[in-house]
Amino acid sequence: MLNKETAISKDMFAPAHIDPSKSEKISKPSLNFWQDSWLRVKKNKGAVLSLVIIVIVIFLAFVGPLLTPYKFDTQNTKNNNLPPRIQGLENIHWLPFDGTLKRKNGTEYNPYEIREVKEYYWFGTDGLGRDLFARLWKGTQISLFIAFMAALVDMLIGVTYGAISGYLGGRVDSVMQRIVEIIVGIPNLIVVVLMILVLKPGIVPIIIAIALTGWTSMARVVRAQVLKFKNQEFVLAAKTLGASNGSIIFKHMIPNMFGVIIINTMFSIPNAIFFEAFLSFIGLGLQEPNASLGTLVNDGYHSMIAFPYQMIIPSIMIALIMVCFNLVADGLRDAFDPKMRD
């Protein structure tokens, strides 16, 4: 972009040698859609790093609870509200793992010493004396499960609905779109409360409630894509060859919009995690003694001043997951979008 003013003389140029046999040569290696996308994702360091973090978090969500001697639901009320303390780090005061807390007037105290507790709780304990390290990973596991399941249901309903609506078009399309508008208009909370009633409270109604209210954006995106593809040559060709509507939609169109679908799913995962956190805030979250990031953060909110670690640790985890999923989604969008090919 810099406009360098340099004198260019004629003798700097020489005629190029034209080899007709090479004019058809493909200089870049042949890549399919996925390889191509992967190459471009790789260039986006933020997305790659995020992807690595997500993988690590998922791994720890399953392995983490096994790393401590405490189970996520074992209570020991004598050891409740203990701050984080890690072997070896306990004497390094600037790290938050020295087992000390602060009173309202600013004085520091060490509840481990006062209560003569020998154990080490890496991330501290909650109000019932449950180990927060185990609960954090258990909570991450459940939150991710809820989010993935909700996203999967979203995807199935949304893609099918959007594809049918867009492909059939006309009156069917307009009726189906009106239905979407109506669903958007019904308050989520009523659906959630109903679900909790109809099914017993727990993970399943939360997943269903999130999915039931969340698939509309996927449907809208897929419909737009289908409308775009509908009159493109490859679809017309398939039609001419006598392919059925179903096979045109599912064999020809949908593979072409994998990118869009994956991006949308990537966005709906963090949304589901957040919605679950909101449900916890109003008391409709998961059932005790289960933990999710939402319930942990909500419990931590009330301990914000007295036991800040109870809020900070799950908040960091939730923020980390949200940021990573968003960055990966952004990276994927850039990668999948053919317009951005360089």
């Binding site: 509200n81 000390t100 019932l128 008391g283 005790e288 003694p289 009330h302 001043i305």
Partner: protein, 570 residues
């Protein structure tokens, strides 16, 4: 391009402040909060500004004493209006609009009360016996659609049941038959269906407040919809209130109140905060002098030992109900096992950590008195925790049932402290009793009530607050077929004792007390029908400059009329 640079700056500063906030939460910032070295003044000097700023946790749903059923409404009605009697700072019932304590006839079913002649409404009218008659009739009238009027009067005040039975068809003549009459302008006669030992506490309750007929009828639909449409006869008047959704309102001293010379406080400002952490924050920042009740152990732990924290025991008792529709709970040994298992002391000390007391009883402490003697003094406590015994009962019970394992659905509420308690109880039960599995279902309050009504639960965590100052408000809950039983409990012996206390022993205080003690024993020990857990304590933060803030076990929960703001050398 100046614009975009400017907004960039804005973004940066915003983000920076955001991060600062987040970071100082994470690392342990050295923030010295002002050392509050308060040396107590021996002599209290009144502050020049007698204004109190109070934070409440809810709006006032109504200021119509006939229709109110809400705690907040109760506090406000008691501040701006006045019934025949009031609770004083020592929790004693003292005359208010009445001149003296009531006179009873021989069998204690007819009460005569003389009214004081210097009580006035804020429009200048005197408060007369007719106002009470009208207030009561209006509360009961099905057209008013009050929930508390019928609830408190049915089967207690003469002819109330008959009027309720007629429902919408009740004529004004029918309503006039209600057992309350004005013998003259300042003499009231009340006819009861049976002797009610707790009638005096009734007469201090807002549902039995007077209403000025002329004024109420003139206002019509507008009555009590905002501060401009209410009459006052209490220590304060409401000067600002835009109606039930208002989150801000104010009281000012009522100079025409008969006892105005003893009211020091000039003004009370109210605001609503529904978030406990935010309430504590507002208190910390000095924006309010009194917070709503705070239940969160973590928030309270910050104020342990501080003179700002006011903890007092409430008469609300919480318990675990065992639904005897489930065959397992028809087995006495199973019920006893459950009752003996839970470590209530750990529950109140470590989990709730808010001053609540472990309860081995259902009629609370510091609540009902007979000749100054607490109902709990002389009464036993029942089913103290004993895990070894519990295990034995459990195994015996399982054997009798021919089962190895039992799974129970445990319905709890969706509040934070309720969820914590539920998790604790589940853990205690499952750990102690082999083969027991408990599934907790936390649901919103209304749904919990619904499941209780339909008896769609095995275990249910519930609580009860009193409606009047007598053990009966707890003891009649578990009568066979009683509307609050809702767990298919039935005991002839219990029924007999409680019914006797309701009827034949109504006028014999000591024997009645004894019968109720015995009934409690049948319920908790012999039958182990329910498992009491704890008696709740309330915690509020009060600025030390506020003196004389009175809290009561029952409505009104709080009374401002004795409050004085004193100088603190802060």
């Amino acid at each position: 391009m100046k614009k975009s640079k400017l907004s960039l700056l804005l973004v940066l500063s915003l983000v920076l402040s955001m991060f600062l906030a987040a970071c100082s939460g994470g690392t342990k910032n050295e923030e010295k909060s002002k050392d509050e070295g308060k040396t107590k003044t021996t002599e209290e000097k009144l502050a020049a500004d007698q204004t109190l700023n109070v934070l409440e946790s809810a709006e006032i749903p109504t200021m119509d004493s006939a229709k109110n059923q809400d705690t907040m409404g109760g506090i406000m009605l008691n501040a701006v209006n006045e019934g025949l009697f009031r609770l004083d700072e020592n929790q004693k019932i003292v005359p208010a609009a009445a001149e003296s304590m009531p006179k009873y006839n021989e069998d204690k079913t007819v009460i005569t009360i003389k009214l004081r002649k210097d009580a006035k409404w804020s429009n200048g009218d005197p408060v007369t016996a007719h106002d009470f008659v009208f207030g009561w009739q209006r509360a009961l009238d099905p057209k008013t659609a009050s929930e508390y009027g019928p609830y408190f009067m049915e089967d207690r005040i003469k002819n109330a049941s008959e009027i309720i039975a007629k429902g919408e068809k009740a004529t004004p003549e029918d309503i006039k038959t209600l057992g309350i009459k004005a013998l003259d302008d300042y003499t009231l006669e009340i006819d009861l269906v049976r002797p009610l030992p707790y009638i005096e506490s009734y007469l201090a309750f807002y549902t039995f407040f007077p209403q000025n007929q002329k004024y109420v009828e003139a206002q019509g639909d507008k009555y009590a919809t905002d501060a401009a449409h209410i009459l006052f006869n209490g220590p304060f008047k409401m000067t600002k209130w835009d109606g039930p959704t208002a989150t801000e309102w104010a009281l000012e001293k009522n100079d025409t109140y008969w006892n105005a010379k003893n009211i020091t406080l000039k003004k009370v400002n109210f605001n609503v905060s529904k978030d406990p952490q935010a309430s504590a924050n507002a208190f910390e920042a000095g924006e309010v002098d009194v917070t709503p009740k705070l239940a969160q152990a973590a928030i309270l732990s910050q104020y342990q030992g501080s003179e700002e924290l006011l903890t007092y025991t409430e008469p609300s008792v919480f318990w675990l109900k065992m639904n005897q529709k489930n065959p397992a709970f028809q087995n006495l040994n199973i019920r006893k096992a459950i009752a003996l298992t839970v470590d209530k002391n750990a529950l109140v000390k470590d989990v709730l950590a808010n001053g609540s007391i472990a309860a081995d009883y259902i009629v609370p402490k510091e609540f009902a008195f007979n000749n100054g003697k607490d109902f709990r003094d002389g009464a036993a406590t029942y089913m103290k925790m004993n895990k070894e015994e519990a295990k034995k009962f459990w195994e015996k019970g399982l054997q009798e049932l021919g089962q190895k394992e039992l799974t129970f659905t445990y319905v709890g509420q969706d509040t934070e402290s309720s969820k914590k308690t539920d998790a604790f109880v589940k853990d205690q039960l499952e750990k102690t009793l082999p083969g027991l599995k408990i599934n907790i279902e936390s649901v919103p309050f209304k749904i919990r009530i619904d499941r209780e009504n339909k008896q769609d639960y095995d275990l249910l965590f519930a609580g009860w607050g009193p409606d009047y100052a007598d053990p009966m408000t707890y003891m009649d809950l578990f009568l066979t077929g009683g509307q609050n039983n809702r767990m298919s409990y039935s005991s002839a012996k219990y029924d007999e004792l409680v019914k006797a206390a309701q009827t034949t022993l109504g006028a014999k205080a000591d024997e009645r007390w004894k019968a109720l003690h015995d009934a409690e024993k049948v319920l908790l020990e012999d039958d182990a029908a329910i498992v009491p857990m704890y008696q709740r304590a309330a915690n509020i933060l009060v600025n030390p400059k506020v003196k004389g803030l009175v809290t009561h076990a029952m409505s009104p929960d709080m009374d401002f009329q004795h409050v004085k703001i004193v100088e603190t050398n802060k």
